[in-house]
């Protein structure tokens, strides 16, 4: 399975965050100043272009200072009512367990339209009375919607890191991946990213994953032909290929690895092969490619890779019988990979609860997280007494209880019973 390097090499501590030393310093000092009492500005507003480390900085700081980070995206706080649910959390610096708390409202730009207006207002209200540090993050702090928020916040600007700084980060990754990379090649990627570290890391992964060495020639084509352009060309060769040979050749042209290419095809094939029979054939071919991937995994016989390639390229190309090639349909980045990293955190929590179940129930953590946890969830939502008993029996922590109960009121009812 494809695991994004942006996640794998995400800085865990502030020391690893690249660039913006002054902004980070200002932020750290403000957070630390809370120890001496509530400062003048109760919220910090971090803003700057995508992929410069805003979210990462807040996460790393919480980690370094051992603070409890309550992290929310725009989708969690659209409405006034949704925001108010966090008001209680904001009214205390120390949490139940004595760790200090910091609240992050991330991706503020995501609030749009009138429905979200209430959310912006409610956040402003919370800021005014907050008893713990609140951090807001957005790309554009000067959006007129944020005017009230802005006036109440310590403004911290994140600038694009320099190519040298980006380069340093890329070098570190190559070293850990055991890739011998030419300085020129990495410089090229760094420059092209224009300070967006996320996209630089993505480019690096697309170009270098699985390779032993990365040369300037491997990347220079990015110069005259955009990376996206190439994957699009490859996709066209496969989804609109007339011959098996032609479709198969696409693999050599693609500068992403086979797993990633599979994801691209799997994502895009349905929109380009809309006839139900064609669609069924294409998905069938992809499922066969996947079967061969499994056989490789089980036997470690990599020569089977040619069949994976056959099915996912030629197999998909030959699926087109009825679908007309007229019209223009765009290609897009595999959504499933993005979705996967989004839900990763939730699944980690499920597995942690699974581990608790395992200790008691003679069942693997994996299966418990899928088969037993849903019932716990029902119990925790409906019966505080039973939930409290089970929490004790399973030795669940507060975070787990909150996850299972799904709401603050229920969590409180349960913790009251726990004494």
């Amino acid at each position: 399975m494809y695991f994004p390097w942006t996640e794998k090499y995400k800085p865990k501590t502030l020391k690893e965050v690249v660039g913006n030393p002054d902004a980070i310093q200002k932020f750290v000092e403000w957070v630390k100043s809370w120890d001496k009492g509530v400062p003048k500005k109760r919220a910090a507003f971090i803003y700057g272009p995508p992929g410069t480390g805003k979210t990462v900085t807040v996460e790393a700081l919480a980690n370094d200072l051992k603070m409890e980070l309550v992290e929310k995206n725009a989708s969690d706080y659209r409405t006034e009512e949704a925001v108010k649910r966090f008001a209680g959390l904001a009214s205390q610096y120390g949490s139940l367990f004595g760790t200090k708390r910091i609240i992050l409202f991330d991706e503020l730009d995501g609030l749009t339209g009138t429905a979200d207006k209430g959310g912006v207002k409610a956040i402003t209200d919370i800021i005014k009375t907050a008893q713990c540090p609140i951090v807001l993050v957005a790309n554009n702090a000067y959006d007129p919607r944020f005017i009230n928020i802005r006036n109440n916040c310590l403004l911290i600007e994140f600038k694009k890191p320099s190519p040298t700084e980006v380069l340093k980060h890329l070098k570190g990754i190559c070293q850990k991946e055991g890739i011998a990379a030419e300085e020129n090649a990495l410089k090229f990627i760094a420059q092209r990213s224009e300070g967006d570290i996320r996209s630089a890391v993505n480019d690096l992964q697309a170009l270098a994953q699985g390779k032993k060495r990365l040369t300037y020639d491997d990347v220079s084509w990015l110069g005259y032909r955009d990376r996206q352009e190439t994957i699009f060309t490859v996709m066209r060769m496969i989804l609109y290929g007339k011959t098996c040979e032609g479709a198969k050749r696409a693999v050599d042209m693609a500068d992403v690895d086979v797993d990633m290419l599979f994801e691209w095809i799997y994502e895009n094939a349905p929109a380009h092969l809309t006839d139900p029979h064609d669609l069924a054939r294409a998905m069938d071919a992809l499922s066969m490619a996947d079967v061969y991937r499994g056989r490789i995994r089980n036997t470690q016989d990599w020569s089977l890779m040619r069949y994976v390639v056959d099915f996912m390229t030629a197999g998909v190309a030959m699926a087109r019988v009825n679908t007309k090639t007229s019209g223009w349909t765009p290609f897009h980045f595999p959504e499933r990979i993005q979705a996967l990293s989004r839900t990763r955190e939730e699944r980690a929590m499920q597995l942690e609860i699974g581990r608790k179940l395992k200790r008691r129930c003679h069942i693997s953590a994996k299966r418990a997280s899928k088969e037993v946890l849903p019932y716990l969830r029902i119990i925790f939502k409906n019966n505080a007494e039973m939930a409290a008993g089970l929490s004790k029996w399973l030795d669940l922590n507060m975070e787990m209880i909150e996850y299972l109960a799904g709401s603050k009121e229920k969590t409180e009812a349960i913790s009251r019973l726990l004494g």
């Binding site: 294409a282 079967v291 409906n382």
Partner: protein
């Protein structure tokens, strides 16, 4: 206040307490009597008493302090060869003191062990037979490599029959002071099809609502416990909206962590209820079966199941065409 998961609270302690699986229990008891146990494979569907039987056998054999003589290892969590090399070997080679000259290693969910790890196990099993006996629990014995199967006595666990299932649930209900109505028990059997772990969990979740347990309660619990709204996904596909159906599938797998095997089981049930031409039903069943097998082999759940969704789109489309004629 004392609450535990009822599936644990009511897990049988000795072989005599086990429900059903009569022949198996008899044979296991004869092992206890002769104080000798061969390597065993306990195979069968989930929640039929495999792990329980292994634990009961150990308790009957060693007495209350049985924990000192056994080790439980779950292969789903520790699938690698290193575990066999280190943990298993270390445990297996040290002789146990006491009346029974060997220890027991319970390798649970053993069908999730990698082929390598199984190969490594094969030698260990032979080398240390004198000091350690292995009980492998698995849903599919087919996933245990031949050489290991040949070293083990096979035991086939089957789903609990209707009467036994009902009786056991009513027994728990009575102990817990619940009002469990007849149609409630029926519904539990229908949604859990004899998987006792699932049945007891369903019962406990239903009990948490604090009212008499009837069919309606059970179905609503089963629905909630299964965010897999498979029916809706099938409908979406049959309307021809593949992309939306695939999105729903993705949510089930990624967001709610529903097991692919659960989704496929429900699809199988639903297929025979949907409005596709009769001959298509059997064609689809064939595809479902094939995909079920692939999932067991460790294939990518979303990729495989979405191939099935595409077939549903196709089936619905053909049906529409046929009507036009």
């Amino acid at each position: 206040m004392s609450f535990e998961m009822w599936a644990e609270k009511y897990r049988p302690k000795t072989l005599d307490d086990m429900v059903n699986q009569k022949e198996i229990v008899e044979r296991l008891k004869s092992f206890v009597k002769s104080r000798n146990v061969p390597h065993c494979i306990f195979a069968g569907p989930p929640g039929t008493g495999k792990t329980t039987a292994a634990l009961c056998l150990a308790r009957d054999l060693y007495g209350e302090a049985y924990r000192e003589h056994i080790m439980e290892l779950n292969a789903s969590d520790e699938r690698g060869i290193d575990v066999v090399r280190e943990t298993v070997k270390t445990f297996a080679r040290v002789r146990s003191i006491g009346e029974v000259p060997f220890k027991i290693m319970i390798l649970d969910e053993a069908d999730n062990m990698t082929a390598d790890a199984q190969q490594a196990l094969r030698r260990t099993m032979e080398r240390y037979t004198e000091t350690c006996r292995f009980i492998l629990c698995a849903n599919y014995s087919g996933k245990i490599i031949e050489p290991i199967q040949s070293r083990c006595a096979p035991f086939r666990f089957t789903h609990l029959p209707r009467e036994e299932h009902d009786k056991y649930l009513q027994y728990i209900a009575q102990k817990e002071g619940l009002k469990l109505l007849d149609d409630g028990v029926n519904a539990i059997y229908e949604v859990c099809s004899g998987d006792l772990r699932r049945a007891i969990n369903t019962l406990q979740a239903a009990a948490s609502l604090g009212k008499p347990i009837d069919a309606k309660t059970v179905y609503s619990i089963a629905g909630k416990a299964n965010p897999a709204d498979v029916q809706k996904m099938i409908e979406t596909a049959m309307k021809g909206n593949f992309l939306e159906a695939r999105k729903q599938l993705r949510d089930m797998i990624q967001k709610y962590g529903v097991a692919g095997s659960d989704i496929i089981r429900q699809i199988h049930t639903e297929i025979f209820r949907t409005e596709v031409p009769e001959p298509w039903k059997i064609k689809l069943a064939d595809i479902v079966g094939e995909i079920d097998y692939r999932l067991v082999e460790g294939a990518d759940e979303e990729v495989q199941l979405s191939a099935l969704l595409a077939r549903l789109v196709e089936a619905a489309h053909e049906m529409k065409d046929a009507k036009k004629v």
